[in-house]
Amino acid sequence: MKQNHYKQLVFCLLAAMVTGSMAAPDTDRQAELLYLLKHDCGSCHGMTRKGGLGPPLLPENLQDQSSELLVNTVLDGRPGTPMPPWRGELSEQDARWLIEAMRRGEGL
């Protein structure tokens, strides 16, 4: 468990360094983001992220998509579809953390 936690920390730090963004959101914010992911993203993508009116967001659905595209989709939405822009409610750092959380299958 401890080692896992450590790996996660290193991963997040590396991800933050690579993307040039700030450190990951603090634990309170992470909990808020996961709640939002489950309940608000979940109303279109399913609480188990298996899809609904919106596409599924399971790790295998995201593996071929670049993080840049996914972060932009979260922040700016996808015009012509019901996917709304979440900028204003989510920072870039929040969006990046959420994408990585989805890639890890966190909360599933």
Binding site: H39, S43, M47, G51, P82, E89
Partner: protein, 423 residues
């Protein structure tokens, strides 16, 4: 005392002689039957135990509350305002909906994971369950109560089941001529054992006639508008309306005159105004009507639209707190209650349908997801997801009259829906 004294010799005289006679002659021959007698007693006890689980009572004041995150539902008593039973193991219930059998004993719960569960309200238990598709959204029960239809996202289409056994009766794929599949939304029942639904990805509307379940007849209307997201049918079963996400307007079909085709109403209602991001799709459920006026949520605007039910022209737009999700009329049509999309979903507003103004606002808590009125409208139940509560309000005084605990409650459905077309 005299009568008592007198009764003793009377007893001795008549019964004192009879009893030894009966012991010898009457009871002894029954001894071989004692095991059978015990078995009968046991069976009676068992049936009494069953009776305790399934009380003799009506189900007309019962309902179902969906607990969306835990895959469970509550059976509730709306008269006593309490929980009667909790039924678990119903799968992914995000966006679950419910219809009722015509005897109001059974509830059919449609889950997100394609699960169709038949709940026995009287006994408070799961009666049957099938996993009928990968991903589904909504269902309907036929006019005669014999068929339950489920609309699916993956694979797109409608599946029809026998209401009693949940055996598959018909499978209606949602493909166009080129073979493109679509998610199905806005499925409702219509007179003549028909189901009406819209195809989200293809912009089509379909009528499936199940009057002969072995040979369903499907009629298709194409180009009804971009991205229909939900649909409703008027209580008389005459008009079907699909809300469009891809454009400002609604698609209307007169089921008495399907040959006249689908007509566009409220075309371009948001024209010239920037559409706001939609954090939750509005729902068209039932028919919020008062006199000539129908109340409909605007998509991407902080407004409730009012349209004339005969001319289908816009009558008014009522500014409200946020983007409406549900716009539901109290059964008498005097009030319309509105809840809102994230992040303004802590508020509920009440519109007076005569002045067409918001007359009451309240904050029941974060995540107000659904509202269900008593059949005659004297109270309303609200689900407040983030504080794990169902709150009951008096619709005249707006006072809260009860609070029930529920885990992440979403949809609330009362059995009176059993007798209404389109619910």
């Amino acid at each position: 005392m005299k009568t008592h004294k007198g009764s003793v010799p009377f007893f001795r005289k008549h019964c004192g002689e009879v009893m030894p006679y009966r012991r010898k002659r009457v009871l002894t021959p029954y001894v071989p039957y004692v095991p059978y007698l015990l078995l009968a007693l046991l069976l009676t006890a068992m049936s009494l135990a069953t009776y305790a689980a399934c009380p003799v009572r009506g189900t007309g004041d019962l309902g179902i509350v969906i607990e969306r995150a835990s895959g469970s539902v509550l059976v509730v008593d709306t008269t006593a305002r309490k929980r009667l039973a909790r039924i678990e193991g119903l799968g992914d219930l995000s966006h679950a909906s419910v219809v009722f059998s015509r005897d109001e004993r059974y509830a059919y719960v449609f889950g997100r994971d394609g699960g169709l569960s038949k709940i026995d309200l009287l006994c408070g238990r799961l009666d049957k369950r099938v996993l009928q598709a990968g991903n589904s959204i909504v269902g309907a029960i036929s006019q005669d109560g014999s068929l339950v239809a489920v609309s699916n996202y993956t694979p797109g289409g409608v599946k029809v089941f026998a209401a009693d056994s949940l055996q598959l009766v018909a499978d209606l794929p949602a493909r166009d001529k080129a073979g493109h599949s679509s998610k199905v939304v806005g499925l409702v029942d219509a007179p003549g054992n028909k189901f009406v639904y819209s195809l989200y990805d293809l912009g089509e509307l379909r009528i499936a006639d199940l009057s002969d379940p072995a040979a369903p007849v499907v009629t298709t209307f194409t180009d009804i508008g971009r991205l229909p997201y939900d649909g409703l049918i008027t209580p008389d079963g005459r008009n079907y309306i699909a809300g469009l996400f891809g454009e400002d307007g609604l698609a209307l079909l007169d089921l008495w005159h399907p040959d006249e085709g689908v007509q566009r109403i409220l075309d371009g209602y948001g024209r010239g105004e920037e559409k706001l991001p939609v954090y939750k799709m509005p729902h068209l459920e039932g028919w919020a009507v008062a006199g000539r006026n129908v109340f409909i949520p605007a998509v991407g605007h902080h407004e409730v639209l009012v349209v004339d039910r005969y001319s289908w022209k816009e009558v008014a737009r009522i500014p409200v707190h946020g983007q409406p999700v549900f716009v539901v009329a109290r059964p008498d049509g005097r009030q319309v209650w509105v809840n809102f999309a994230h992040p303004l979903n802590d508020t509920v507003q009440v519109i007076d349908t005569q002045s067409m103004q918001v007359v009451h606002s309240m904050q029941p808590g974060d995540g107000v997801l659904h509202m269900e009125f008593a059949p005659r409208g004297e109270f309303v139940w609200l689900s407040v997801r983030d504080i794990d509560q169902v709150q009951v309000y008096d619709t005249e005084s707006f006072e809260r009259i009860a609070t029930l605990e529920a885990e992440k409650p979403s949809g609330i459905f009362f059995t009176a829906r059993a007798h209404r077309t389109g619910l």
